[in-house]
């Protein structure tokens, strides 16, 4: 289970569901960045990392990726020439960013210090914060995308759906839809559904990859916990590498995530496939 080698002939897919409701405009405590801005940056960055992982240096289509935004509107969030695409190949995405920004990052030099280095930061979708939280509609979209994918790729490494939100759904109870998604699968295992709840309040303690619902503070946390898949071994290994205590029953779920937790969530959620498994 969860051991299928990923290849150009047998790729896997990642579907990101991004909450674009009005409350995502709130800024993180002590910061200048809103939840919407940070989640968009983090998701753009993880897409960038997935492309670099596949670059030899031309990108090999080991992955297909979709981003669904849900708020006032629901639908594919890619911009530019990818507008309207539910899923795109890594090479299509690599060659079609909305724009590429110049940024500065600090990197190690060869003598133990740090130097500033210009770097390119591609953007595929911009932050949006407007409207309610139609999470059920977003999950329906994800289910439809994954179902179509599995018909075409029945032996793939199972698709991963990563849902990033900051609040309760405003269009119904998503639990049944989450269960339906988790029941889908390839011969290599069931679809992995992961949920990240982010909070702008630093006073709220984060709960990271819990293995039981008793430690959760409220009904919404317990709902997201029930919606989430148990993490496969490869994701647990990555979580352990990053210093998180996980057990065999740990769920792909983070509650009250701050920006650092979001980055770790996305890293772990897209780590199920080691580069050496890519061919």
């Amino acid at each position: 289970m969860y051991t299928a080698q990923i290849s150009r002939a047998n790729p896997t897919c990642f579907v990101f569901l991004v909450d674009q409701s009005g409350s995502m405009s709130e800024k993180y405590t002590g910061g200048s960045v809103s939840k919407a801005e940070f989640v968009a940056t983090a998701t753009n960055r993880v897409i960038q990392n997935l492309i670099i992982r596949c670059a030899k240096p031309e990108p090999r289509d080991y992955f297909h990726i979709g981003v669904i935004g849900y708020g006032q509107n629901i639908g594919p969030a890619f911009g530019g020439s990818l507008t309207g695409k539910e899923l795109a190949t890594i090479s299509e995405i690599a060659n079609s960013p909305l724009r590429v920004e110049d940024r500065i990052k600090k990197v190690p030099d060869d003598i133990g210090g740090l130097v500033e280095q210009k770097t390119k930061f591609p953007i595929w979708f911009d932050p949006v914060a407007n409207g309610g939280t139609p999470m059920c509609e977003a999950l329906k979209s994800a289910k439809s995308i994954v179902e179509k994918w599995l018909v075409q790729h029945p032996t793939c490494f199972p698709p991963t759906v990563l849902n990033l939100s900051d609040g309760e759904p405003t269009d119904g109870d998503p639990q049944a839809l989450a269960e339906m998604i988790r029941q889908l699968g390839s011969v290599d295992g069931n679809v992995i559904l992961m949920n990240c709840h982010t909070s702008s309040k630093s006073s709220n303690s984060a709960i990271l990859f819990p293995d039981n619902a008793q430690i959760l503070p409220d009904d919404h946390a317990r709902l997201l916990f029930e919606m989430s898949s148990i993490m496969p071994e490869s994701l647990r290994l990555r979580a352990s590498e990053l210093g998180f205590g996980v057990s065999e029953n740990s769920k792909g779920f983070v509650f009250n995530a701050d920006p650092t937790d979001i980055i770790n969530f996305l890293d772990i959620g897209t780590s199920g496939t080691k580069p050496s498994d890519l061919r």
């Binding site: 080698q5 290849s7 150009r8 002939a9 960038q48 492309i51 670099i52 992982r53 670059a55 030899k56 240096p57 031309e58 990108p59 690599a94 060659n95 960013p97 590429v100 190690p108 030099d109 060869d110 133990g112 770097t119 390119k120 591609p122 080691k274 580069p275 050496s276 498994d277 890519l278 061919r279």
Partner: protein, 257 residues
């Protein structure tokens, strides 16, 4: 005395020959090598890097050409070779008016990664024995067979030692601190009729698993009657070996006939 050697290499299933990221170095033809020094090297370029095939090739050649191999010097020389090829590639792209795209720049900045196993033999005919010195970063392995038994196995001992996170040499200097490299060295001696095998990780893991089950996998490694490629594909089909670029060097030391 004679040393016979042969090298075998096939790509991962699904990849073409020009996508192989393993590389090896064996000496040129040498009918009688008494009193000489011989170097053999094998490197497994990592999938998470870019132009890893250039780096594995640079590492084995840097090792092979040194009279007294020194790992730090080998790494330094190999990184310079890789940097030189990289620069040539970038210059050619600019000449063709096809500058690097953002992801090409980013992946080239990340660089290449590879393992290295180098074995340096010295020979003295008069006693029918000599010394060997091996150095290693990663999970490419050496096996020494004498009288139908494994008498040396380096650097990994158990099939459980193999995983997806071997130590790797990087083209970025700051990633090559000793703690990251985990490099190892060992010395040994050889006698006439010893056979040595150098293998990249997938085949090494299979070899170690077989010997842990009291089998003698070296008995099947005679590629006069079966092609190496067919042998490995059969193992892959039966799921006895991981699908990965697979390379083996076989070295046999014989007395003069």
């Amino acid at each position: 005395m004679h040393i016979l050697w042969d090298a075998f290499i096939i790509p991962k299933s699904g990849n073409s020959d020009d996508e192989i990221e393993d590389a090896y170095f064996v000496p040129g033809e040498c009918p009688d090598i008494s009193g000489l020094i011989l170097n053999f090297a094998l490197s497994d370029g990592a999938s998470e890097g870019v132009f890893s095939n250039w780096f594995s090739d640079s590492l084995v050649n840097a090792f092979g050409k040194m009279t007294e191999p020194d790992l730090q010097v080998v790494i330094e020389n190999a990184i310079q070779l890789w940097q030189s090829k990289k620069k040539q590639y970038i210059d050619e792209r600019q000449k063709r008016n096809t500058p690097l795209l953002w992801y090409e720049e980013a992946s080239i900045l990340k660089g290449a990664f590879a393992t290295l196993l180098g074995v340096h033999f010295t020979t003295t005919e008069s006693l029918g024995e000599g010394q060997w010195h091996a150095m290693s970063v990663g999970d490419t392995c050496l096996f020494q067979i004498r009288d139908d038994e494994i008498i040396n196995q380096f650097p990994l001992i158990s099939s459980n030692d193999f995983n997806n996170y071997p130590n790797l040499i990087s083209t970025n200097y700051h990633l090559n601190e000793a703690a990251n490299l985990g490099n190892k060295e060992t010395l040994g001696s050889w006698k006439f009729n010893d056979t040595f095998y150098m293998m990249t990780d997938a085949m090494s893991q299979w070899f170690v698993s077989q010997s842990e089950s009291d089998r003698k996998p070296w008995r099947g490694l005679d590629f006069e009657s079966i092609r190496f490629g067919d042998f490995i594909e059969n193992l892959r089909d039966e799921r006895h070996i991981r699908n990965d670029d697979t390379t083996m060097i076989k070295i046999t030391i014989l007395p003069e006939e």
